[in-house]
Each structure stands twice: as C-alpha cells, then as structure tokens.
C-alpha cells in the first residue's frame, strides 16, 4: 500500500438536492487513498459519480459528508496553493489567446512575472511537443493539439497532482491512442500524480498503475485493481496477453456489478 498518500478520501458522500423528493445520492461513503506518483483511473459507467468524485477532490463542488485531504491540506487550500492542475473533456482554451498565452494563464493568475512565465511556457510546449505553435490561436489547431495545449496549461504551474476528467473523450480513436502514449511520457517526465476519469476499459488499463472501478446508483467503489504491466508502455503493450488478461479482469469487475444490479 502507498508509502505517502497524497490524496486521502474518507467517507465521502454526495447528495444532490438533499432533503427534497428529487434527492439523488451520487456518491455513498467513498474511501480512497492515492500515493504520490500513482496514475489512478476512476472507471465506471456514466452516472457512477466518477466525475463528481473528481470535482470534490478539486474543490469545485463540496461533499455532503466526509473529508478529503490533498497534499496534507483541505481541497480549498490546495486549490488556492495551486497544488493541482485540471484538464477537462473539452480543451476549454480561451479563443482570444494564443497557445502561449493560454498555457501561461495559471502562472498569470498566480502573479508570476512575465519573463518567468515565458520561460516556463516554452518548457511546457516542449513537453507536449508543440513548440512551433506558440503563436497560433486555438482555432488553428486540431482537437488533439488543443487538448495537448490544455495539458500544458494544467502543468504550467508545476502542480503535484493532475486531475483529468475524460480528457480524451472527445477525440477520435487514432488521436486518442496517440495522446495516451504522449500522456504516459509526460507523466514519466513530470512524476505528477494523475487521477484520470474515463469510461474506457482499454484506456484505463493502458494508462493506469491502478484502476478504481466504480458502480452506479449510488456511486461506490466496486474494486481497486493494480495494473502491473511494466512502464514504459508502448504500442506493443497493447498486443501483450497480459494486457488482454487485465482488460478481462477489469471487465469482469465492471460486469459483476451490472449483473448484480440486473438481478436486484
């Protein structure tokens, strides 16, 4: 088990519209610890609360009960200290800013001096391999490139944690696989802890060091599966028997709960 948990979630419950007849329990009594340097995927069908759990960690929505600690702090403090970076399903770039100025946004908000911002931004664009696009505008980039800019933006302030909410969900299969490889390279270059929300089994297995399988209504953790495939993972990894075995294992964990649910 983790030597030094960077994220600790204790008994987190989330209800929407509590106390009304439209009350929905999105998450019920979630316990989860994530160690520094892990790549953890939250995997589950839509409605299992995986995005909600991520948003609670990021202090973008409060839990109804329970507590979260990020880097030893409350999520609110961690957010103000910019301990995490966030990537959404849509790149969400500011269309009036060049790529470079989009990437430096977190630094600008943090009040970092211009010269330092420029240096940092250049390093980030090297990291996501888009250095020649610094002066382009978002509309001139493909969807995959825009998402890479969003990743550079999320990492520009050197966060300890990277939250990703289905970041590759809007991309086509080819781009998606390419970016999965890029993401692993970036993860190994930066040693950031990644929490990655997805509903794709293959994606979760290829990327993660651990997969947290979630079940819906109410959202619970059904299983936590270590993925012991060695890094660096490449296109070849996708052809290994161990890769397919792991996919089967995860699928059965997901399937088990749907069967149970159907029986109920």
């Amino acid at each position: 088990m983790p030597e030094s948990p960077i994220i600790r979630i204790d008994g987190v419950t989330k209800q929407f519209n509590p106390g009304t007849d439209r009350s929905v329990t999105a998450l019920a009594d979630i316990d989860l610890t994530i160690a520094e340097g892990e790549f953890v995927s939250l995997l589950g069908p839509s409605g299992c609360g995986k995005s909600t759990l991520l948003r609670i960690m990021a202090d973008l929505t409060p839990p109804t009960a329970g507590s979260v600690s990020l880097n030893g702090k409350s999520p609110a403090t961690a957010r103000r200290d910019r301990d995490y970076g966030m990537v959404f399903q849509q790149a969400g770039l500011f269309e009036w800013r060049s790529v470079q100025r989009n990437v430096e946004l977190p630094l600008q908000v943090a009040g970092v001096a211009k010269q330092e911002r420029r240096a940092k931004t250049a390093a980030m664009l090297d990291l996501v391999r888009l250095p020649e696009f610094a002066r382009h505008f978002p509309w001139q980039l493909s969807g995959g490139m825009q998402q890479r800019v969003a990743i550079a933006r999320a990492l520009s302030a050197d966060p300890k944690i990277l939250f990703m909410d289905e970041p590759l969900g809007a991309l086509d299969e080819m781009n998606r696989e390419h970016l999965q490889g890029e993401l692993l390279r970036i993860w190994s270059d930066t040693r950031t802890t990644v929490v990655f929300v997805t509903h794709s089994i293959t994606e979760a297995v290829f990327l993660s060091s651990r997969i947290v399988v979630m079940s819906p209504r109410p959202g619970r953790i059904a299983a936590s599966i270590d993925v012991d495939l060695p890094y660096p993972r490449t296109a070849e990894t996708r052809t290994l028997p161990a890769f397919f075995d792991k996919i089967t294992e995860v699928r059965e964990a997901l399937h088990g709960m749907t069967v149970a649910e159907d029986a109920a």
């Binding site: 910019r82 959404f88 500011f94 009036w96 946004l105 908000v109 382009h136 505008f137 493909s142």
Partner: protein, 274 residues
C-alpha cells in the same frame, strides 16, 4: 496530426486583395444591374423627378453640389462620431456595473431591451427643444441614446454569458473576481460589443440625419436634404441621401475594420477555415 494553418506564423487578417475582389464582384454586378434597370425605367416611362430621379440626374446633382454637400457632411459627421462615442462609452460603463451585480442585471437588461424596441428617433424634436435646434448636442444626443441601448444589452450579455467550462477553469485556478473579469469576461464580451458597434454606427447616422430633418444649423446634411426636397429639387435631395448612405456604410466599414484588427481570433473574422 495536422494544423489547419501554415506552420510558423499565425494568419492574422485572413484573405487578401484578390479574395476581397472576388467576393465583391457579385455585389458590384448586382448593384450595376439595379442601377441600370432604375435608369431604364425612369427614362422609358418618363417618371417625374418628384417620384424618382434617374441615377444619372442624381449623379450630376451630386457633382454640382459636391462642395455644399461635403461641407454639410462635416457637421453631421461630428455629430455622428460624438453620439457614437458617448453612447458606446456610456453603454459599456453601465454594462460593466450591471454585470457586477447579478441581482439587478436581469431587471435592468429587461428594461433596456424593452426601451430598445421603442423608436428612439422619435425623440428627435424633444432633443431639439432640450438642447437647442442648432446645437451639436441635440443631434449627438439622439444618436447617443440610439447607440447606448444595443451597446448596453450586448456588452452585458457578453460579460455574463461566459462558457461554464471557462468559469470552472478560472475557479480551479483560484482566480480572483477581478482576474475573472479582466482575463475572461472582458475578452468574452468583445465580439458582442463589436456587433453592437456595427449596428450602432449605422443607427447613429440615422439618428443624426432624422434629428436634422426637424431643424438644425443650415450647413448640416439632414437640413440640406429636407430643404432640397421642399424646394423641390429632388435630384439634389437624392444626392444628399446618397452621401448620407455612404456615411453609414463608411461608419460600418470602420467598425468592421476595427473588429478585424482587435479580434483576429474570432470566428466571424477568420471564418473557421484557415
């Protein structure tokens, strides 16, 4: 993975002289056909000039009267510019204030939308009474009010209608309200503002000309048109109308140019394809 645009340097103002010419050609041809038909109909059916003078008559009246009309235009242009600037500045300022206070923004904008539907130009005689028939303020005032409302409503909309994703991003970055205003709301409102300014620039011309119809200094374009029409010298009146139309067109053109220069990143400017 490919970029749509050429690598290295972003394209700013898209297109080129050739593109513009090619796009302008159908419009020019259409205009020439209409003018030709107009000329033909007037000559063939011997239409009296108080109904419609022929384009050639209007053209020769314009050449004859050019000095008078141009000197009259100078006063009218100053009133238009004054009205446009004051109306826009006031509209932007009120929009900034209103958008800061969510509780009042709804009602205030609702009222603004209703007032905006009223024919504000009908205030022309009132403004002439308030500020004096011959003063610049009465003309610029009507124009200013006409510009104010669309600028207020559009700018406020642009400040308020920010993409939820963008807001959430700023929130995740722990941005302060001031930073959200400066880095997100203001740039987001620019396209809305320019739509209002393009509309407002033509409204300002209408406001000033119509107010001048109700009286003004003898060397104003609206006064000139009204006088020529009552003399009656219709070709001269139409020449004045032509110049007033060109004035509106020029104002619109200046606004579009500003838009292109200030927001080359916007879809309405780059057209989505590089």
């Amino acid at each position: 993975m490919t970029a749509h645009a050429g690598r290295g340097r972003p394209m700013l103002v898209a297109g080129g002289a050739w593109d513009t010419a090619r796009r302008g050609l159908p419009v020019t041809v259409t205009a020439l056909v209409i003018l030709g038909a107009w000329q033909l109909v007037v000559r063939l059916f011997d239409v009296p000039s108080f109904i419609l003078p022929a384009p050639t008559d209007i053209a020769s009246a314009l050449v004859d009267q050019l000095t008078t009309i141009l000197s009259a235009s100078r006063l009218t242009v100053s009133a238009v510019l004054l009205g446009l600037v004051s109306g826009s500045v006031a509209g932007i300022l009120v929009a900034l204030v209103v958008s800061r206070f969510h509780r009042i923004s709804g009602p205030v904008l609702g009222v603004a939308v209703i007032v905006n539907c009223a024919p504000i130009v009908a205030l022309a005689p009132i403004f002439n009474n308030w500020f004096g028939v011959t003063s610049l303020a009465s003309k610029a005032g009507v124009a200013g009010v006409m510009v104010f409302f669309p600028v207020l409503v559009n700018t406020a909309r642009g400040l308020l209608q920010v993409a939820p994703l963008h807001l959430e991003l700023m929130e995740s970055l722990a941005a302060r309200p001031r930073q959200i205003s400066l880095m997100l709301r203001l740039p987001n409102a620019l396209p809305y503002l320019f739509n209002a300014l393009k509309l407002g620039s033509t409204l300002a011309v209408i406001g000033v000309i119509v107010t001048e119809y109700f009286g003004g200094p003898s060397n104003a374009l609206g006064v000139y048109i009204a006088q020529q029409a009552s003399l009656p010298r219709f070709a001269e009146a139409w020449a004045g109308i032509l110049v007033a139309s060109l004035l509106g067109l020029a104002m619109f053109g200046v606004m579009s140019l500003l838009e292109r220069l200030l927001m080359p990143w916007h879809e309405s400017v780059h057209g989505g394809e590089a």
